[in-house]
């Protein structure tokens, strides 16, 4: 009982560490292990969490493994092509039934005593079943299944059976997901591969970063220098017309390059130098000039980052997925996207662009990682202290969708995310 009261206090204390009025959060939110444990429970186990894209499980029998906070799950597609998100835990004595990252299978067989589960999680067979006569029936012991819903191929799952439908949760973000999915160039968006890396820091440092344009010209100076002049100009967006908009429920969008919001508009633009080889390859394949322009424009990726609370971002041309490992460690996936059935030249270019900036060896990520590691370290200085997310607070306007909107390098999106965080942590009271 006393433990319950303590836990409740920690959630409330964490909620109190978010000062919405002043736009600041206590640095302890990055480093207190008790708060971290509460976050797993109150945030990750309690909301819609991204587990994968439908193209990662394209066929009957396809599966991939993922995590919701600390809990291992399996995303699978059964013979009727239905998707399932299952707890990766055998119902007998609890071993994981699948350790592969992805693949194709007819069944998940537990390595310990051989219980076999179907792709929908149902327990199909077990050795020497007669000893369970009168104990239980197989039908009572499927892999536990989570509530799962998708939007535009993005699959989310939740342990919270009372939560609103996914589409309501996404709300104002849906319009941006629709725009994001135009980058298949007329083909459905498909996962082409992924980069994985970790950094010694709290997950919220990464959550903030995807809606942080302010750091770009500083931290990514060496990347910008590696580009041709025209491309470098595109990335010089802090003085442009971009913006950050709070979309509600912790989601936000940061538009850096307004001319690349809708990839199906402005198709008459000239083809930039760095895409001329791609354009030629597409022409050589017999693509019409219109299709060439559409594919080239899609190859850029979108000019915005859409941050979906708490663990995924549709970030220009890829998905950024975060997983909290411990209070001071976070794992990140950079998932490369292309077009399903699109010309090889297009998908190859998309992969080469992804390799250029993303992943542990890209020209961008290592410098981000260095900055985040410093934030975590710095958060240990002093006994008390604030992290400021108040940039641009006094210059907010209302967007055409009725949301708070600030300058592209404002911290409007971070404040939106922390507001949702505060709400979820404060729900400790109702538990």
């Amino acid at each position: 009982m006393s433990q319950l009261i303590d836990m409740k206090n920690i959630g409330l204390q964490a909620a109190d560490m978010v000062d919405v009025e002043k736009g600041r959060v206590k640095k302890e939110l990055y480093s207190n292990p008790e708060i971290f444990e509460e976050e797993l429970d109150l945030v990750f186990n309690n909301t819609w969490v991204f587990v994968g894209h439908e193209s990662e499980v394209p066929e009957a029998g396809s599966f991939k493994t993922a995590y919701i906070g600390r809990q291992p799950v399996i995303l699978s597609r059964d013979r009727k092509m239905n998707l399932h998100v299952l707890q990766n835990r055998c119902r007998h004595r609890g071993a994981t039934v699948c350790e592969a990252r992805k693949g194709k299978t007819k069944a998940f067989t537990c390595p310990y005593h051989g219980w076999g589960y179907g792709l929908d999680g149902s327990l199909r067979a077990l050795p020497k079943p007669e000893e369970y006569d009168g104990v239980f029936d197989k039908s009572e012991m499927p892999l536990e299944s989570l509530r799962a819903e998708s939007y535009q191929g993005m699959v989310f799952a939740t342990f919270n059976n009372d939560i609103e439908p996914l589409e309501d949760f996404l709300g104002g973000a849906k319009k941006w997901i629709d725009l994001f999915m135009k980058q298949g160039g007329g083909y459905p968006v498909k996962v082409l591969g992924e980069h994985r890396f970790n950094f010694p820091g709290n997950w919220k440092i990464q959550l903030e970063n995807t809606t942080d344009a302010y750091h770009f010209p500083i931290v990514h100076k060496s990347f910008v220098s590696s580009l041709d002049e025209a491309t470098a100009d595109i990335f010089d967006f802090l003085d442009g017309e971009g913006f950050v908009e709070d979309l509600g429920n912790g989601h936000s969008v940061m538009v850096m390059i307004p001319q690349l919001v809708d990839l199906e508009a402005d198709l008459d633009q000239p083809i930039p130098e760095r895409f001329s080889a791609l354009a030629q390859a597409l022409r050589d394949e017999g693509k019409s000039e219109n299709e060439v322009k559409k594919l080239v424009r899609a190859a850029h990726g979108t000019g915005f980052n859409l941050n979906l609370f708490p663990n995924v971002s549709c970030s220009m041309a890829f998905f950024r997925v975060l997983r909290p490992v411990s209070v001071g460690e976070t794992e990140i996936q950079h998932v490369a996207l292309g077009g399903d059935g699109a010309p090889d030249a297009f998908n190859h270019k998309r992969m080469r662009l992804h390799e250029h900036f993303q992943g542990p060896m890209g020209f961008g990520t290592p410098d981000d990682g260095e900055a985040w590691e410093r934030v975590q370290k710095g958060s240990m200085a002093g006994t008390d202290g604030w992290i400021l997310v108040n940039r641009g607070m006094s210059k907010l306007r209302t967007s055409e969708d009725g949301n708070p909107q600030g300058a592209v390098c404002s911290e409007t999106g971070m404040r939106g995310a922390y507001q949702q965080y505060k709400k979820m942590m404060a729900a400790a009271e109702e538990k």
């Binding site: 990252r101 082409l192 591969g193 992924e194 980069h195 994985r196 890396f197 970790n198 950094f199 931290v219 100076k221 060496s222 990347f223 220098s225 590696s226 794992e331 990140i332 490369a336 090889d344 190859h348 992969m351 080469r352 992804h354 390799e355 250029h356 992943g359 542990p360 060896m361 020209f363 990520t365 290592p366 410098d367 990682g369 260095e370 900055a371 590691e373």
Partner: protein
């Protein structure tokens, strides 16, 4: 054609020389070891051989190699500045194919990096495709197969 022992000695010497250049950040000299068509590849999928058709951690042609080196050298990258030193051990060199135009060799490498005072280790199999030229061997392809290529790596601001 050389005897196997001679060739092995020549290849081993070349691999050791390349390793020494990289550990001592002599990146411009390293660039000059390459043919124009050469590819530096660090795959994510160790079973994959169609590198152009796959997402890699790095797939550098001559332009990308030059840019990668520029990024490490120009003082603008905060992570490159804070990389301490790397020390790589190379051994178990074996010639897989000894053609007149191309020599293919494989070796074991362990790279140790000191990063913010912590030691990070990267064991790998490295595959070299080398081109014999008048100026000695040149790199036509180098594939660094990290043991934990598909795991969660630390970020990398040096060259394997």
């Amino acid at each position: 054609m050389k005897s196997n022992t001679q060739l092995l000695a020549q290849v081993t010497e070349f691999i050791g020389y390349e390793a020494d250049l990289l550990d001592h950040k002599a990146y411009q000299e390293w660039l000059s070891l390459w043919t124009d068509s050469g590819l530096y590849i660090v795959p994510t999928d160790l079973n994959e051989t169609d590198y152009l058709n796959t997402l890699n951690l790095a797939l550098d042609d001559a332009d990308m190699r030059r840019m990668r080196v520029a990024r490490l050298e120009n003082g603008e990258s905060v992570s490159a500045i804070s990389v301490g030193s790397t020390v790589r051990m190379v051994s178990r060199v074996r010639i897989l194919e000894a053609g007149d135009d191309l020599v293919i060799a494989r070796c074991a490498m362990t790279l140790n990096e000191l990063r913010h005072g912590k030691l990070v280790t990267y064991p790998a199999n490295v595959e070299y495709t080398l081109k014999p030229t008048a100026e000695g061997l040149k790199l036509e392809q180098k594939v660094v197969k990290l043991l934990h290529a598909d795991g969660f790596l630390r970020t990398v601001s040096f060259i394997f």
